[in-house]
Amino acid sequence: MSRGWITRLQDEISQAWAVAVKDVRVYYLTPPMIMFGLMLPLFLFFSFSIKREIGLEIGLARLLALTTFFTASSAGPVIIPLERRVGTYDRLLTAPMSLTTLLLGKTLVGAFFATLVSAVPLLISILGLGVNLADPGLLLISVPLASLAFSAFGLVFASIPTRSVGNIMMPSTLVRWPLMFISGIFIPLEEMAPWARTLAYFSPLTYAQDLMNHAVLGKGFLNPWIDAAILPLLLILFLIPAARLHHRSRVLGY
């Protein structure tokens, strides 16, 4: 690798970091965002868990999967069209950094936020409720991995050529919510009919839930290393349509 490439790489990493830190300061660390990040997964969890007599550990694994999924994939679809509307996105697009760097910066910040929010129920469960984790080390990598993949997933919707948040929320909701029901969160993979399980494999949430099950409960349906390998692959996979949609935006003028 030549010196020029090393410098360029250093530049791109610093720029991605600058974008991430700016987004944290401007958009994420605001009371409404934190409340939304914490409350939505909690409400979902209680909606589908009350009176079902599930154990604390199972509940925690579900809650972590839901939190990473909804928190990481929610902010991007709001922020990018908003930035497009007020013109600040043009500032990022004209800066001397690649589109990949910009998308990685945006992915990083969504993942960071989801990891931070996930820490709240995790700490309450461990310190307050005495939940024992089967594999804390695995959990330490699974939460950020899932958050990164889901943040990139949210970025696909955020990249739709529009300046209206409303135009993005509809497809984002239409896709994300059904995924929650087919991903082994409320019906474990092992209890699913074969056709349903096949369907579940198309959902990124399936692999996060299975990995959380391994880390919290010590058992899952798939090999944990398969789950852990698929999540970063999904991250890359989701960045491809996001980049293509950005290119489409450049053609259309958004």
């Binding site: 610093s14 990022l92 001397p96 290119h247 259309l252 958004y254």
Partner: protein, 329 residues
């Protein structure tokens, strides 16, 4: 003189709508280049293509010898953009905005703070450096937006309508800043529909109309080419509303336009018109408050070329504007 921007057959379609039609021009290094046109003529579309925000349908853009489609990164490092709307982060302070931009453009860490301080002092924002931008006035945001665009010391600065909507003091400060930057060697590409601003600031101007370059030259050469739009300006007292119709019938007057309390009479022979105006005033029992001859202004040239008032939108372009805005204009 070296060429900063070289555009060849640049074309942009939005669907079936032709917004920019095979335009060609060059901007020389170190000049202030004005890009004028009525609303919807293709000014902003062209600028967005030049700043990598919009992909051309056809044509080639070279900036400092780099093909923008193939090799945009060296160009991005050398250019700054001040868009029409001040795109500052209102949730951050002025200092926070400048620091973020400096990091984005990889300004060396040791240079960031001195440059930010220098710019904030130059633009009269130093005292407000720790105030969130949401509390700034429009003029302050505009100045901050310009400071953010030049913190990495670009050699090419794009400004899109930098002064409309600002108070006279802010507008004057920004024009001075443009002159100062240019004097320091920065090439300025100014998109505007403020004709007088272009006249005061630009070394050369291009007039775009319906997506095509209608004229390109220095303001003085353009004016010289339109001597037929010389005029005489007269203010009469009492300023009766019926003067216009009567003044228009005077021999040699092609058009009479009311400008405030004055009438501007277009003629090819201003000197022949003067005695007729004196005679007219005597007949009307009106007093001549002021009387002067005027050469063609850049605005006159613009009107002759585009056939419309500044800011006016013809039916055809009105449709296009709506369509283009939807697509990001």
């Amino acid at each position: 003189m070296e060429i900063a921007i070289d555009i060849h057959n640049l074309t942009k379609y939005y669907g079936d709508l032709l917004a920019v039609n095979r335009i060609n021009f060059q901007v020389k290094q170190g000049e202030v280049f004005g890009f004028l046109g009525p609303n919807g003529a293709g000014k902003t579309t062209t600028q967005r293509m030049l700043t990598t925000l919009l992909e051309p349908t056809e044509g080639r853009i070279q900036i400092y010898g780099h093909d923008l489609a193939q090799d945009p990164m060296p160009v991005k490092r050398q250019m700054g953009l001040v868009p029409e709307e001040s795109n500052v982060y209102t949730e951050l302070t002025a200092w926070g905005n400048l620091m973020f931009t400096a990091k984005l453009y990889r300004v060396p860490p040791g240079d960031r703070e001195p440059r930010a301080r220098d710019l904030l002092e130059t633009f009269g924002l130093w005292e407000k450096r720790h105030v969130k931008v949401e509390e700034f006035s429009k003029g302050m945001r505009r100045r901050l937006s310009i400071a953010m665009a030049i913190i990495h010391r670009p050699s090419l600065l794009f400004l899109d309508e930098p002064t409309p909507g600002l108070d006279a003091q802010s507008a004057r400060a920004i024009r001075k800043m443009i002159r100062d930057l240019n004097a320091e060697g920065t090439t300025i590409y100014l998109t505007t529909h403020q004709i007088e601003e272009a006249n005061q600031l630009c070394d050369r101007v291009a007039i775009i109309d319906h997506g095509q370059i209608a004229a390109i030259d220095t303001p003085e050469h353009l004016k010289a080419a339109f001597q037929k739009v010389q005029s005489v300006e007269i203010a009469l007292s009492p300023d009766g509303g019926t003067h216009g119709e009567r003044l228009k019938t005077l021999p040699g007057v092609s058009q009479a336009v009311k400008r405030g309390d004055k009438w501007r009479l277009y003629t090819e022979q201003p000197s022949a018109l003067l005695p007729r105006l004196v005679e007219y005033a005597e007949k009307q029992n009106a007093k001549i408050v002021s009387l002067c001859t005027l050469g063609p202004s850049l605005e006159d040239v613009f009107l002759q070329i585009t056939g419309q008032e500044i800011g006016a939108v013809q039916h055809k372009t009105k449709t296009s504007t709506g369509k283009i805005r939807k697509g990001g204009r």
